[in-house]
Symmetry: C2
Subunit: 111 residues, 2 copies
């Protein structure tokens, strides 16, 4: 019974850490099939347990998906969730979220 605001907040919070944002960037840049956790660990140069902790946070927020391939786990970005989140944030910023104020806010005016 988690509301829209709560869910969006949870996901934004999950993105609100330099390491997790870096992880997501790598995943987006990596192959569509996903990037092995070990490769992330090597690239980011952090302890495996720390990485695993952050990956779990991202997965809990439905921002990344996992698939096992032998002994390695491949992580990849969940573009559906990411798109929904950016759209929500955008509407929050531009239209005030609800429908009771149809005209766009100044945020939308691009010069």
């Amino acid at each position: 019974m988690t509301g829209r605001v709560e869910q969006a907040a949870e996901r934004l919070k999950a993105l609100g850490h330099p390491l997790r944002l870096s992880i997501l960037r790598r995943l987006v840049q990596g192959p569509e099939a996903g990037t092995p956790a070990g490769e992330l660990q090597t690239r980011l140069d952090i302890p495996a347990s720390t990485l695993s902790h952050h990956l779990a946070t991202l997965a809990d927020a439905d921002l990344v998906l996992v698939a096992r391939e032998g002994t390695t786990l491949r992580y990849r970005a969940d573009y559906g969730t990411l798109r929904a989140l950016t759209e929500y944030l955008w509407q929050d910023c531009c239209a005030g979220g609800a429908a009771d104020d149809p005209q766009p806010s100044p945020c939308c005016r691009r010069d």
Copy 2:
């Protein structure tokens, strides 16, 4: 000497709290001149000190601006920062941030 990733993470983190997200929504929906802190307090029905704390967090992240008007402080959304943030997040999600992977990720494909 704060990098782009760190700054984006700080701002996403600031948005990553239900109350702060609700505050921002109210500000976006409110008048362009800004919404008095007292009005936010009444609407959200939370202690003034708690609200002030969250407003400070949003202000520290440059997500909101303040202007004094007599004894009241009017808060309003900083659309410039919000737009930059959503754009950064969007590019992070769609193009991998850097220029070493020009073609868009599946995230951009809208059906």
